[in-house]
């Protein structure tokens, strides 16, 4: 009897220690599977897999969590998926071969990179109309928007630049050279910096948003791995702005970087060819997409240890987590 009570107490203590397991929903685009996996972040299980358009890559969600936007690259459109029914309820005129996009902080405007046309397309979500097409460098891909929504950053892969776009005038105001094949742009939460990954260059450039100068280039080195395999793609920065996570592609690791010292604190082993990342809204978990092992990895951000990998569809590309 007494033993039983101890066990119960221990169980309660354990429960308290781990905190309330909040259930969020993660949406994963499976590039080769033409599908989207819906994952419960508390049980870490795939709840459902739904068919979507061809070659789904970039994925994001409306601020209210009601709609998922998905780049169906080979269908030349952005699909709108109702998160309550998981049905495709409409599409946006993205222009050809949309790969990656970013939603304005107010959720009203979608900025899409069109790789084939050297353009950034600006779409009004309510009217589903193209508001502008902004010429940028060759093979635009990475898209980041400042927290105030005033500045958009697009990276062009063959041009190796981060293009700063004034969202009110819809013009490129600065173009900053970074290392070869920039893939992703992420603003710090205070909007003071943009972190740009360079896949072939193997670095992350930190750009000051005021001066539009590169203030730091972060290099990566994993013992036992050849430098060519280190190909930074996705970057996610914690809401408190203290840590940045960088997905290193075929190096199969995620780097944890101290945003103050720019020092790499740790390399976390995940699945094969890790490309994109997303936090749960409580920031306790980071989810990675591992394209070549067909899985996603959950990372505990308190310990920066991988918790579990979960098989999803074929070649997971992007991931987004519901805000609620």
């Amino acid at each position: 009897m007494r033993k039983g009570m101890y066990v119960a107490a221990a169980a309660i203590a354990l429960c308290l220690a781990s905190g309330p397991a909040f259930a969020y929903t993660a949406y994963v685009s499976n590039e080769k599977g033409n599908s989207m996996s819906i994952v419960d972040t508390s049980t870490m299980k795939v709840v459902k897999t739904v068919d979507v358009g061809q070659r789904p890559r970039g994925i994001t969600i409306s601020p209210d969590g009601k709609f998922v936007y998905l780049c169906a690259s080979d269908d030349d459109q952005v699909q709108i998926i109702d998160t309550s029914t998981l049905q495709v309820v409409g599409s946006l005129p993205s222009g050809p071969d949309p790969e990656l996009f970013v939603l304005s902080p107010d959720g009203k405007t979608l900025y899409v990179a069109n790789e084939n046309d050297n353009l950034v397309t600006v779409i009004d979500i309510a009217s589903k109309e193209v508001l502008a097409e902004i010429p940028v460098g060759v093979e635009p891909e990475g898209m980041g928007v400042s927290p105030d929504g005033k500045t958009l950053v697009n990276t062009s892969e063959t041009t190796s630049m981060a293009h700063f776009i004034d969202t009110s005038s819809q013009e490129v105001t600065d173009s900053v050279l970074v290392d070869t094949r920039p893939r992703f742009a992420e603003f710090t939460p205070d909007g003071s910096q943009v972190w740009v990954s360079a896949e072939v260059g193997g670095t992350v450039s930190v750009i000051d948003n005021k001066t539009r100068q590169v203030v730091k280039k972060i290099n990566f080195a994993i013992p036992g791995l050849r430098s060519e395999t280190i190909q930074p793609v996705g970057v996610s920065i914690t809401a408190d702005g203290k840590k940045a996570y960088v997905a290193l592609g075929p190096a199969n690791h995620v780097a944890v970087v101290d945003t103050k010292t720019y020092e790499v604190k740790k390399y976390i082993l995940v699945g094969q060819r890790v490309w994109h990342l997303a936090f749960t809204p409580d920031q306790k978990t980071l989810i990675t997409t591992n394209g070549n092992s067909n899985d996603i990895t959950f990372i505990d951000t308190a310990t920066d240890e991988p918790v579990q990998s979960v098989t999803v569809g074929q070649q997971p590309w992007g991931v987004v987590v519901s805000p609620k």
Binding site: D97, E115, N116, N118, P135, G137, V138, E139, S156, E157, T158, T159, S160, M161, H163, V172, S175, L177, T180, R181, V200, G201, G202, R226, E228
Partner: protein
Amino acid sequence: MKRAILAIAALIAFLCLTASGFAADQKTKPAEVRIGYLRAYAPRLTLSLLDLPPRDEGVAGAKAGIKDDNTTGKFMGQNFDLDVTEVKPDADVTKAFNDLVAKGDHFIIVDLSTPQILSIADMARDKGVLLFNVGDRDDSLREEDCRINVFHIAPTRSMLADALAQYLIVKKWPRWVLIYGSHKPDQLYADALRRAATRFGGQIVAEKEFKDTGTARRTDTGLAQVDQQITAFTQGFPDYDVMLVADESEVFGTYLPYRTWSPRLVAGTAGLVPSSWHPASEQWAGIQMQNRFMREYGRHMLSKDMNAWTAARVVGEAASRTRSDDPKTMSDYIRSDKFSVAAFKGQKLTFRKWNLQLRQPIFLGDGRAVVSTSPQAPFLHQSSTLDTLGVDQPETKCTLK
């Protein structure tokens, strides 16, 4: 005295004017970088219609590269132009070369024979002109005949042969029969395959030369005799895994697959072919390159197109990274440790310092699809696995001059 003062004043005024003129110029007119393209061209016959080289083979790649350079240049205040000149194979190229230099071309893409390249290399060096070789595979041009101002984008025969050999060894198909043509390029390719066999543990169990007796490449009766001829020709070899073929001259190689006496694979210049690009490569964002090339030029992108695209990008990269159109500044940058270029091959490409050959992965494919890319994972190297392909630094005969 007065006159002296006046003269000084005039001089100052003149200097001011030119200085301000220059400043204004900088703002309004983009910096101009002219790239030359010098090629030897004559129509040639191939055994398969699909292998007929398009009229603008290579040139279209350079144009695509210039286009990409200009998209970048728009943000840098730099503009790139291409001057294309054509001569006959084996013609004297000095005049054509001098004409390009007179136009202001300090970077010239060359698709020429080894003697033609060597005939202008030293002149080019003395004029501060860099040549980018996109068509010549001769190892000698990177070894005993290497030059300090000739960069090689095209891979050598030894790089291609090594790429193929690595794959065959990884597949555990190590016993080879080597069939080679009677022309010099065929024999050089055969040499490269023999070298690759020793290097990676392949065994050439038999060799045979296929003599070019000057037969027509096509006749109205078609392939009636070819099957008989090839079956008989390939009879009587010891047991082997793969038939290697060295026929750059397009005399018989294409006829080997499916017609050999033994049911064996064919690789080399026919069957599984190593190359610097493959028109079906989609990996490493290659699909984007393929799409825009097809859209612009209405055909598939071939190896020579990719070589020329890369050459144009090397120059573009030098201009944007140095923010300069000064040939000396750009050349110094291309030679420096900082230089690298991306060309849809999964990693950055750099030049071998000892002979100015571009390090690069090699595609292995048949007429339809990419089968693999080399270097193959089991083959290691102390500095770059790409240096497992071709002549490595300790073996080089090159002294850059």
